[in-house]
């Protein structure tokens, strides 16, 4: 399949930053497309994994951070496991997501960034996840208040959702970690 690169749209290439963040050398990719063949979501996105690599090689800029794959990728690591050149594409996807978050440039397809944020916020607050608060915050954030609600009564009855957060975790260390990570990002 042909990959069309629109010259006027392209900003400065981000290949070097992606390689520095992920520690992965993308120049060795020869487009065998094994990553795309094994990717469970390749058929659901416009640009599959091998195309993302090719675009980066062809000096893609910030516009690649809008790719659907960033937030459809499951981090299942099948691509990394099967690459004949040992490219850790899962690490490249983490680097792309990180760049997308840092630059706030991308459209951030879907609600995954919001989910990750509320998930990590409950961890920061309690030291462990607290599903009740996480789900509530996520639902308010997406305005999809009614999704999955029909399962709630059964899950509560089966005690598959904890009513209260734990108080046993070492919250002090966890808060320190989040503080240091924020300093490290320079934001």
């Amino acid at each position: 399949m042909a990959i069309i690169v629109t010259q006027e749209k392209a900003t400065d290439g981000i290949l070097r930053e992606v390689q520095a963040t992920s520690g992965v050398d993308l120049s060795v990719c020869y487009q065998c497309k094994k990553c795309t063949s094994g990717c469970p979501v390749a058929a659901m996105v416009k640009a599959p994994p091998s195309e993302i690599i090719r675009r980066l090689q062809l000096n893609a800029g910030d516009e690649i951070l809008d790719s659907e794959l960033l937030w459809t990728c499951l981090s299942c690591e099948t691509c990394s496991a099967r690459c004949p050149m040992g490219i850790d594409l899962a690490a490249v996807m983490d680097a792309l997501r990180r760049l997308a978050l840092d630059r706030k440039a991308s459209k951030q397809q879907g609600n995954v960034p919001l989910f990750n944020r509320v998930f990590l916020e409950t961890v920061r607050l309690f030291g462990r996840t607290y599903d009740m608060l996480m789900i509530a915050a996520y639902k308010v954030g997406t305005l999809k208040l009614l999704n999955d609600t029909e399962k709630f009564p059964a899950m509560l009855k089966k005690r598959k959702i904890a009513l209260f957060p734990t108080l046993e975790a070492d919250r002090k260390t966890v808060r320190r970690i989040f503080k240091k990570a924020k300093q490290n990002r320079g934001t």
């Binding site: 469970p40 981090s75 099948t78 989910f115 990590l120 996520y138 260390t173 240091k180 490290n184």
Partner: protein
């Protein structure tokens, strides 16, 4: 046999059944599990998708506590197992990351705590012979599709768990119980993992493909060892029925629940009542050991 035990956050919510069955099975098999005081979340997928320092430091905060205990650390949740092992891998392969992690958690951590999956303890330390000799019941006649998912086997360099494309650990355990394990191609396919709430459409497609393949192979149930695989394959059957009109009625059970049944432990104590798709076919398949 004494170990530190990392239950993981889902042990306190969606995977109480996994946690409870692990505890009772351990007690019967003489495995002593000790929770590290104040253990904290491993960060899961959200952690590594957001920030590499969070991804390494969150598990390291618990690992450094386990180091003080002087024990190997056992995890049963595949996601926790993966992130704990990745934290070891990251501090062992990058001196820069080790320095940053030390600054974040307030102590140096050298990556030396040995991390084991509960199945590895059963296979390597307890041994299949001992398990077989302890069994009071059998699952003879039950056809089981063993499903490993992603996080146990990938990335292989860091996990070193079994064969990454065709693992057999779970199969060997299930066969010890007298059940028949099936050859099927979806052992290490992804169930959709952490996108359960955010991209339910993707999860429905992936779980449907796994369920239909298990059914085609003739499975009576799917055995898992990961809370995310379990809840996706179990709970999403309700959505598959509603949205696609396909009904699977496929019980998704933890391997610890199957072992517990054969040790003569009651289904209630093993958390069978917490499954969304009832596993009565599995419970009814239990027979007296020869």
């Amino acid at each position: 046999m004494k170990y530190a035990y990392f239950p993981g956050c889902s042990a306190e919510s969606t995977a109480r059944d996994m946690h409870e069955s692990t505890l009772v099975v351990s007690e019967r098999l003489g495995i002593d599990l000790q929770e590290p005081r104040g253990w904290t979340c491993c960060g899961a997928t959200a952690g590594h998708q957001t920030d590499p320092l969070l991804a390494a430091s969150l598990p390291a905060a618990t690992l450094v506590k386990v180091k003080d205990m002087g024990l190997d650390l056992v995890a049963n949740c595949a996601a926790c197992y993966n992130r704990l092992k990745m934290a070891n891998h990251l501090v062992l392969t990058s001196p820069d990351m080790r320095r940053k992690v030390a600054d974040a958690i307030g102590r140096d951590y050298d990556g030396s705590v040995k991390i084991r999956h509960f199945m590895e303890v059963l296979l390597d330390d307890v041994g299949l012979d001992t398990i077989q000799n302890t069994l009071q019941r059998t699952l003879k006649g039950l056809k089981v599709a063993c499903y490993y998912g992603c996080l146990l086997v990938r990335p292989h360099e860091a996990m070193q768990f079994d064969d990454p494309e065709n693992p057999t650990s779970l199969d060997r355990l299930v066969r010890t119980l007298g059940a028949e394990t099936l050859d099927w191609p979806h052992k290490v396919e992804c169930c959709g993992g952490g996108l359960s709430m955010t991209r339910t459409d993707v999860v429905i497609r992936l779980t449907e493909s796994i369920l239909s393949m298990a059914k085609l192979a003739g499975a009576d149930c799917i055995a898992v060892s990961c809370p995310m695989c379990q809840i996706n394959l179990d709970m999403r059957q309700l959505d598959i029925q509603k949205q696609l009109g396909k009904r699977y009625d496929m019980p998704i059970v933890y391997v610890t629940q199957l072992i517990g049944l054969c040790l003569g432990i009651s289904a209630d104590k093993l958390g069978f009542n917490k499954l969304m798709v009832p596993a009565s076919t599995v419970i009814e398949a239990v027979g007296d050991a020869a």
